[in-house]
């Protein structure tokens, strides 16, 4: 216990990057205890004070882009500029107390070895101190604060993360001491990715796949799984049903670390949101805070891309909406986006249209698989 504590005293000082890690409950508890002791020490010092809480800023201005030349891996990260929660600052006292309140709740949850949903946490806090937590939003924001303070993931704080992710294909996952799960015999529904990050962390992975295909949409995933696409092209299919959750990104990252030679290829709609989803897998996002960028993966863009459009029927295009244009705008202004991605966005905006992956079905349901296979074989990804 004692040595844990001394080690955690420095748990953030040696980093240039700031990130929240998955930390075992005992260590999270120790970090909280250190916080309490530190608070009391400063409160009881000869020159007593109420210590400010240094939080890593979750703002774009504090984000940096890392381009690694060697690994082609780029990611967004938060630098260690700090925003402060101070009791003494005007109008900030509430936020300060909230952090402690949530810390207490999480501490108790960790002690009980339970997990809660953010909604449950909200209700508990609403019941306990309604004046501090009038809405779920306040709880969510404070949890982010706590993550930024303790530099551990939400999951480590005992907050339940349900995953929307699915995986299928030539991957065998084995929880130590349990029966192995063969993801190639899981039907069209695939295998659910657990929200239990530590379980994912423990998985023993095995694959003979040559590619990982990240699919934006559940339905496309289902189609490919039903067609057993992964047997035509030895691959692993993964989807987060839209914007990726932590667990899905975590598992993808784990697989890519375990098998660094497998290219990760993304199949997304030809619209700004599709690219944004790809980018979240690829770079992480600032809004996900400190938990985000650690799981950046070198995802390549397989399709749909501008040069695929001629094969799509005219009727499958729909005009861009305002929201699309907004996303396009912010993608264009992003520092991290590579040029050939930006060109695609420009093309979307210029054409004023968008198309969904499903448009490929115009050529029959089996066309999708052929399309991906052809692209993979021709290394047609960017």
């Amino acid at each position: 216990m004692e040595d844990l504590r001394t080690s955690t005293l420095k748990f953030f000082t040696d980093q240039h990057l700031c990130y929240a890690d998955i930390v075992p409950p005992a260590q999270v508890r120790a970090r909280i205890e250190v916080s309490v002791l530190s608070f009391l020490k400063i409160l009881n010092a000869s020159n007593p004070a109420i210590s400010d809480l240094p939080l890593i800023q979750r703002k774009l201005s504090n984000s940096r882009v890392n381009h690694s030349l060697l690994t082609e891996l780029s990611y967004v990260f938060l630098s260690n500029s700090v925003s402060i929660r101070s009791l003494m600052r005007p109008n900030a006292g509430k936020a300060f107390v909230r952090v402690w309140k949530v810390m207490e709740m999480c501490y108790q949850i960790l002690l009980q070895e339970k997990r809660v949903t953010q909604r449950e946490l909200f209700y508990k806090l609403l019941c306990d101190s309604p004046h501090l937590f009038p809405s779920q939003k306040d709880v969510n924001r404070t949890i982010q604060d706590l993550v930024a303070l303790l530099r551990c993931s939400r999951y480590s704080l005992g907050i339940m993360a349900s995953s929307r992710g699915l995986i299928a294909g030539r991957l065998i996952m084995q929880e130590p001491g349990k029966e192995a799960v063969d993801c190639s015999v899981c039907g069209s529904s695939g295998h659910t990715i657990s929200g239990d990050l530590s379980l994912l962390d423990k998985l023993i992975l095995n694959t003979d796949a040559r590619y990982i295909v990240v699919v934006e949409k559940h339905a496309i995933f289902q189609r490919l799984a039903e067609d057993r696409f992964f047997n035509q092209i030895p691959s692993i299919l993964i989807t987060a049903k839209g914007y990726p959750d932590m667990a899905t990104r975590f598992l993808l990252h784990r697989i890519s670390r375990a098998f660094p030679d497998l290219p990760i290829l993304a199949l997304v709609d030809w619209n700004p949101a599709g690219l944004a989803i790809l980018c979240t897998f690829k770079f992480g996002s600032v809004g996900m805070g400190l938990e985000s960028y650690r799981y950046a993966c070198n995802v390549k863009w397989l399709g749909l891309r501008g040069h695929d459009l001629p094969m799509l029927p005219d009727q499958s295009f729909v005009p861009l909406k305002t929201k699309d244009l907004q996303i396009a705008q912010s993608l264009m202004s992003s520092k991290i986006l590579q040029e050939n991605y930006k060109e695609e966005v420009t093309l979307m905006v210029q054409s004023g249209r968008r198309a969904e992956i499903e448009a490929l079905y115009f050529h029959g349901y089996d066309y999708l698989g052929k399309y991906i296979a052809k692209k993979i074989v021709q290394s047609d990804y960017i």
Partner: protein, 365 residues
């Protein structure tokens, strides 16, 4: 259309349907060749009405009405156009033994379909015309449901071995008709409205102490979830209890499980689970279980409107008058609360107190 099918029961469902589709197509051609406008009659079903007196046949599974589509009205022709396009897709699906989601179908001609609801409507029309269920068309929902507990079954080749870790969530299989070899030692089925409650129970290791099956449809249940639940109830002959939020949406979800939805009324007989009991949360639970005041949220105008509309549903009065009384009480109290509100005193309140007290005290209706 005229000409009912004369297909023997031994044929697989998809072959029967393909024949029906062919007959439909042939019928169209015959009409056209004779220079007659095809006349397509579509039965209309409903699962409830708002007749104050209970002299209605909403529960009889009989159509309440018919729609007639001809080539004489533009809206009809558009509907027919959409229907035929969907039918073409369905025929391909059935022939190739593939499955597709409503969304997939929509995206194949987005500019013609204009909206997902148009496709949904056409799919329903086809089901009514072909006298089949949606899954017979090989149109499946992307499954949203979750299951855990004391059950093991096989879907196609995949084994769903929930028993080996009864507190782990598994997706409810999309191809319910392919489920076989159901093995269960569960004593009851617990249906929870929301995923978060499901995970709460999982986290509390609920199934360790309770031999049951827990199912969540994550909000309004999709078809596979409802069919799966029905399959379990029919096969296992164990009671099913439903735990929903104490708000109008929760109640509506409850009725969807028990009576089916209006949208799928034509197929209600395959989707509803009339045996289901309402476990909670009742409006009266807020006092019984000491839900703190600040967790009781006032009903919005929209909530009240929804409750008032639901109170008129004929099946409530006819089949579950007690549910109706509780719903009325919700309106009278003017507040709603979520399941989570019950857990504010202790995280495992649901597992340790609430559900057991409801089950053993027979406090369910």
């Amino acid at each position: 259309m005229e000409g009912k099918s004369m297909i023997s029961e031994s044929q697989p469902e998809s072959a029967i349907l393909l024949t029906k589709i062919k007959e439909f197509t042939r019928g169209l051609l015959v009409n056209l060749s004779n220079k007659h406008s095809p006349i397509i009659l579509i039965d209309r079903f409903r699962n409830h009405c708002t007749l104050p007196d209970s002299i209605c046949f909403c529960s009889s599974n009989l159509p309440c009405d018919k729609e007639v589509l001809t080539l004489c009205k533009e809206t009809h022709v558009h509907r027919l156009d959409v229907m035929l396009r969907v039918l073409l897709i369905v025929q391909k699906l059935l022939q190739e033994n593939k499955h597709s989601s409503k969304r997939d179908i929509y995206y194949m001609h987005p500019s013609v379909f204009l909206d997902q609801s148009v496709v949904d409507h056409a799919i329903n029309d086809i089901c009514v015309l072909m006298q089949c269920s949606r899954h017979n068309l090989n149109v499946v929902s992307a499954g949203n449901g979750l299951v855990m507990g004391w059950i093991r079954f096989v879907e196609g080749k995949k084994i769903f071995d929930c028993i080996s870790s009864p507190n782990t969530a598994h997706p409810i299989p999309v191809y319910v008709e392919e489920i076989k070899d159901i093995v269960s030692v569960a004593q009851y089925i617990l249906v929870v409205e929301k995923e978060s409650v499901f995970h709460r129970l999982a986290n509390d290791q609920f199934c360790n102490s309770n031999h049951c099956i827990v199912i969540s449809g994550r909000g309004y249940p999709d078809i596979p979830t409802r069919r799966f639940l029905r399959l379990l109830v029919e096969n296992l002959h164990i009671p099913a209890y439903c735990l929903v939020d104490c708000d109008p949406y929760g109640f509506d979800i409850l009725t969807t499980y028990k009576f089916g939805s209006m949208q799928m009324a034509y197929d209600t007989k395959h989707l509803r689970v009339p045996e289901i009991y309402w476990l909670g949360a009742f409006p009266s639970d807020s006092e019984k279980y000491f839900v703190p005041k600040q967790c009781l949220l006032p009903l919005t105008a929209e909530d009240k409107r929804k409750i008032e509309a639901m109170l008129l549903r004929c099946y409530l009065q006819r089949e579950v008058p007690q549910w109706r009384l509780e719903l009325k009480m919700m309106l009278e109290k003017g507040v709603k609360f979520e399941i989570e509100a019950l857990s504010v005193h202790a995280l495992s309140f649901l597992t340790e107190s609430y559900i057991p007290s409801k089950l053993h005290g027979q406090v369910n209706i």
